[in-house]
């Protein structure tokens, strides 16, 4: 189809229809009556412009399907002035057709012309015809005599693709396909032209600068101003012509390489000149090539931000739909591959874990383009066609009935754009901006509107992530919004349309959930971002996949992410964004790394590790809050890791004498670790720091106390108590007579560093250890902090001695009762003094507890003191004595352990919940018992097997002894509790080194 447009006002447009393939060239008749065009369909057609009809048509050319495949450009040309002849390059010849009759009146050929003629151009006078051929041959005929007057070979043999005569007729400018512009000069054909003998010598190097200097500037000016001042230009053109004539031009080819933009305009300018000067004489070939360049300055230019085409909807984990073999989905469950070629239109579903389901092969008769895969079902969808609605198909393979498949037709005019599967539901976003929910069995559920066209969706468990276009992006940016919905019992929106941050000029590549259920996504710059629930649902960049790529064109195609272990699963693609289906790509694993500053330094590394650990363990709290089972071992492990990192950072800042930073770090620590930090600070003689830390510790402990007040069952605080108590207890047993030795032992454990000096102080003042500063006014809070542990133990332990008084609000009360209790507990621990295992077992236990921050109930403290005594007692007494109580409870298995524990703790429970009846007490006790750690429970069960009946005896004995040393008791306890952390610290320092 050819369109004719009136340039001046675009008012008149004519359309000439008839070509069945791309048009190669068009040319106007000089009288603007006709128009000739050549096309890839092989025809050369002459049109009548006025009535838009085809005048004549010749099937002259070879048929091709695209311009790039055409053998010749077949640039036609009407003879200027009268336009009597139309020259058509046909293969190696040029046919001449007479205007009006459209008969072939002649043909120009040359035996040297062996390759197709690309372009023809009439001389301004109309006598000569120049032809440029593939291979670089320029031939000029005298049309009247049909004789060749000039032959010229392009010096490099490049194909000539355009020709233009100088208006004077003495020069021909030509360009070749390699982007060079040449000038054929000194054609002495303006006269009779019968015997032109010019033989241009190639002098390429010379004259480049001349050419520019002489012509360029002025031509440029003219080219730019030609719309404004045609008159002036014409004058200038004449000047220029004169110049040219003045130049002694004795046959030389001027050529220069490297086409530039201004060369184009130069070309334009000169051609324009020709047009202006000669009016209708100008050759149409040149005119056609001028058109776009001349039109350019007329177009209004908008320099502001350009809207970005919105990215299309896609399925995360799929390769583009136009591929014949593609991944329709690759996720953590399996792979859905789609084949769409001549032989086959099929879908293969394969599961990573064949235990889920065996592989499936489906014929894709509906033409599905989207898929998702979960442990329960395969969801497929196809866009609508002319007569068929868009369909959603679900293969619910985990269904237990016989119908494993359902299908839903969407309303007319509504297309599925994105879909995803969650646990028990399927979601579909459509072109009608609707989000439709289905149950996995095919029941239609909620429906809601989306704020914008969907980009992609992802589901996990009960969460649904929807990414959509929030607005139009500008300058290559996408403006995406994100919604995070949660279904299940309490349906709610976690994120309501916040903008989705993307790297500059990138688009979304993948979005999904980690295996633990945290949303994350990848943009086209390879940046992986993860939802940070702890920071108000913000997005934190966790990995840059491009950093690990070897070459610029390599990419990682993300298929999944795991938080524990921290893995980004992706497929490395060499030189592409998508992997091919064959050979089957292998999944690689990338580590995560937060883009913190200075990660080459030790400090930066630790900070990165710490925050990454914090970020990647956010999911624990999320999971527990949404009622999932949490792997407690992993959680405690991660907490421990974080606290260790904090301690390392603390030690590092200490070394660097950054005390303020130390305090900042301490604020991130848990109370236990702060006590460690205090030890560390005091040992490295940073008294000021230690003092500040102790304030923090106090703050934390009071905070904890406050936290536990409202709660029925304090968790962490009880743990803290137990740890404090546990640490105290083994020492108490020895303190009576072996205090000195004990201390020395501890010293040895701690490398004996500067402990000698403190030792005496410690004996005198229990608080000194905490702060490292004896007798200072600020010590009071410190002391309280130090004490708070044992007091709490007392609090928890007290009900056994002073029953009924479970909660003491007054600290003084606490102290008193603790005094009372201390001997008790000490006596309980006493018998263990004899057996060797005593100091070992409980101590390690205590340590584990304080570091692991295990959740244990109030009672663990109380229980443990006794429990510690038990093994010892077991050694003294034979199991047979223990048998009766065990038998009393009638069960010998784990129950007996619980029973024992219950006996110990019943009073506490009753005290805590006075209004409970017996069964409720047991229930409550069961609950509490479960919160005990595994090895504690084990201890209880072991105890049950060989229980000692004479704990009471032992206690009595102990009590007597302990009364004597009661005054020392608090000191000793203080010391031991502080010793223990320091020994921990020394162990830590050791490992660090």
């Amino acid at each position: 189809m050819v369109k004719v447009v009136e340039v001046s006002d675009s008012s008149q447009q004519k359309t000439l229809r008839g070509h069945e393939a791309p048009v190669l060239s068009v040319t106007f008749d000089p009288k603007d009556e006709y128009l000739a065009s050549s096309s890839c369909d092989g025809s050369v057609v002459v049109w009548n412009i006025e009535d838009q009809t085809r005048v004549t048509s010749w099937p002259l050319l070879q048929k091709t399907n695209d311009v790039s495949n055409a053998a010749s450009l077949c640039r036609l040309a009407f003879q200027p002035a009268a336009g009597k002849l139309l020259a058509v390059p046909v293969e190696t010849r040029v046919h001449l057709y007479e205007r009006g009759s459209w008969d072939q009146v002649g043909s120009l050929s040359d035996e040297l012309l062996t390759q197709p003629v690309n372009v023809v151009a009439w001389s301004p006078c109309g006598r000569f015809l120049a032809a440029g051929a593939v291979g670089g041959l320029l031939t000029i005929w005298d049309v009247n005599s049909r004789l060749v007057v000039e032959r010229q070979k392009h010096e490099k043999g490049f194909t000539v693709c355009s020709l233009a005569w100088h208006p004077s007729g003495s020069q021909i400018a030509y360009t070749d396909t390699e982007g060079c512009l040449g000038l054929l000069d000194g054609l002495s054909i303006s006269g009779t032209g019968t015997g032109s003998t010019t033989a241009p010598a190639a002098k390429p190097a010379k004259g480049y600068d001349d050419l520019f200097d002489e012509d360029d500037d002025r031509l440029m000016d003219e080219g730019l101003s030609d719309t404004n001042s045609p008159v002036k230009k014409a004058a200038a053109a004449e000047d220029e012509d004169d110049d040219d004539f003045l130049i002694p031009s004795t046959g030389r080819v001027r050529s220069r390489g490297a086409i530039l933009d201004d060369e184009n305009s130069l070309d334009t300018g000169s051609l324009k000149l020709g047009q202006d000067k000669f009016g209708e004489d100008d050759d149409d070939d040149a005119g056609s090539s001028v058109a776009p360049a001349a039109a350019a300055p007329l177009r209004p230019v908008y320099d502001g931000p350009v809207p970005t085409p919105p990215q299309k909807a896609f399925q995360p984990g799929s390769t583009p739909a136009h591929l014949t073999h593609r991944f329709m989905m690759w996720n953590s469950v399996g792979i859905v591959r789609g084949y769409n070629d001549e032989q086959d239109n099929a879908i293969d579903v394969e599961f990573h874990d064949t235990a889920v389901h065996h592989a499936m092969h489906l014929t894709n008769s509906l033409g599905h383009t989207m898929a998702d895969l979960s442990q329960e079902a395969v969801l497929l969808a196809c866009p609508s066609t002319d007569d068929l609605a868009s369909k959603l198909q679900c293969l619910h393979f985990s269904s237990w009935d016989t119908n494993k498949e359902w299908m839903v037709d969407l309303p007319q005019g509504e297309d599925v754009k994105a879909l995803c599967l969650g646990q028990g539901w399927a979601a579909v976003a459509t072109s009608a901006l609707l989000l439709r929910l289905f149950s996995v069995g095919g029941v239609q559920r909620e429906i809601c509107s989306l704020p914008g066209p969907v980009v992609c969706m992802a589901g996990h468990g009960e969460q649904l992530l929807v990414v959509y276009h929030r607005a139009t992006g500008f300058d290559g940016e996408q403006a995406l919004g994100v919604q995070l919905l949660q279904f299940g019992r309490r349906k709610r929106q976690l994120m309501s349309g916040e903008p989705l941050p993307l790297s500059p000029k990138s688009y979304l590549c993948w979005a999904g959930f980690t295996a633990e259920g945290t949303a994350c996504y990848v943009d086209s710059n390879g940046l992986v971002r993860m939802l940070n629930r702890a920071l108000g649902n913000t997005w934190t960049p966790v990995c840059n996949t491009r950093e690990t790529c070897k070459s610029k064109s390599d990419h990682y195609w993300v298929v999944g992410a795991h938080e524990n272990p921290q893995q980004l699963r992706c497929i490395p693609c060499k030189g592409s964004r998508y992997p091919p289906t064959l050979p089957r790509p292998a999944v690689a694993i990338l580590p995560f790394k937060l883009p913190l500053c200075q990660t080459s330094t030790e400090k930066g590394q630790m900070e990165e590790q710490y925050w990454r650990s914090v970020l990647f363990h956010n999911h624990f709290s999320f999971l527990s809050s949404s009622g999932y089972e949490v792997d407690e071992a992993a959680q405690t492990q991660s907490d421990k890791e974080q606290q260790e990192l904090l301690m390392k950072m603390f030690a590092l800042s200490c070394k660097l004498e950054r005390e303020f930073r130390c305090v900042e770090l301490a604020e991130l620590m848990t109370q236990n670790v702060v006590t460690l930090a205090i030890r560390y600070a005091s040992r490295s003689r940073r008294m000021n720091l230690a003092q500040r830390l102790s304030e923090i510790a106090l703050e934390k402990s009071t905070q904890l106390q406050e936290d536990e007040e409202p709660e029925e069952e304090p968790e962490f605080s009880s743990d803290r108590r137990t740890s404090g108590y546990r640490q105290t207890e083994p020492y108490n047993t020895r303190q009576n007579d072996e205090q000195e030795e004990d201390e020395e032992e501890c010293e040895e454990e701690e490398d004996g560093r500067e402990m000698e000096t403190e030792e005496t102080k410690r004996c005198l003042n229990p608080f000194a250890k905490e702060s490292g500063l004896p007798a200072k006014p600020s010590l009071t809070p410190v002391g309280r902090v130090g004490r708070s542990n044992p007091f709490k133990v007392a609090d928890s332990g007290k009900p056994t001695s002073s029953s009924g008084q479970a909660r003491v609000s007054n600290i003084l009360d606490n102290m008193r009762s603790s005094r009372k209790l201390a001997p008790l507990s000490g006596s309980a621990g006493k018998p263990s003094k004899g057996p060797v295992l005593k100091p070992l077992a409980p101590r390690t236990k205590a340590k584990a507890q304080s570091t692991l921050l295990q959740i244990s109930s109030n009672k663990t403290a109380n229980k443990k003191t006794l429990e510690a005594a038990e093994p010892a007692a077991d050694l003294q007494k034979q199991p047979d004595t223990a048998a009766p109580p065990a038998e009393n409870t009638e069960n010998k298995r784990p129950k007996t352990g619980f029973q024992l524990w219950l006996d110990e703790n019943r009073k506490i429970i009753i005290a805590d919940n006075p209004d409970l009846d017996e069964t409720d007490v047991i229930k409550e006790a069961m609950g509490r018992f479960r919160t005990l750690s595994a090895d504690e429970r084990l201890l209880w069960t072991e105890r049950a097997k060989g229980q000692s009946g004479d704990a009471a005896d032992v206690k009595k004995r102990k009590r007597a002894e302990n009364k004597a040393v009661e005054s020392d008791e608090s000191n000793a306890r203080k010391k031991s509790s502080s010793l223990d952390p320091s020994s921990k610290l020394s162990a830590f320092a050791f490992s660090k080194n």
């Binding site: 953590s332 399996g334 599961f351 990573h352 874990d353 064949t354 235990a355 699963r569 064959l582 050979p583 089957r584 292998a586 999944v587 694993i589």
Partner: protein, 186 residues
Amino acid sequence: MDPSEVEFLAEKEFVKIIPNFSLDKIYLIGGDLGPFNPGLSVDVPVWLALNLKQRQKCRILPPEWMDVEKLEEMRELERKEDAFTPAPSPYYMELTKLLLNHASDNIPKADEIRTLVKDIWDTRVAKLRLSADSFIRQQEAHAQLDNLTLMEINTIREFLLDSLNCMYKLRSNLQPGATKGQFGDY
């Protein structure tokens, strides 16, 4: 040494598999293996890989060198050089045989690889025979052969040792009455 014993040794080599089941770490005398996650590649010894493959529990990823282009390069190099070039793997022959026999569906262009490895093998064994021949011909006391794999040594060991023994006996019998010129006959 029996070729099957050499093959047995080769089965200790590690190869990557993609399991289609999930299993925690398994603790074996030879070391810990796993954990096995469906869809994630993991290194296991060949014997386990083949066992799992036979039970259709995994997909074997061919070793890096088991690639048509790399093998072609090696073949050319092997043909060009007079000495032995480093083998693609110390157990290349055994691994090729094992993997191609049991898991040819997981290895792209299995037939080509089989041919290429056979070519390399043939070239190397031909070299080995040639050097053994010249070794005996020139009556050298020792020879240095680098980059030989166990299987290659194994193919020639028995024959070479036996024949050298034989020749030694003959030579020592002949020694008293014979002149040196006669040895050339062997």
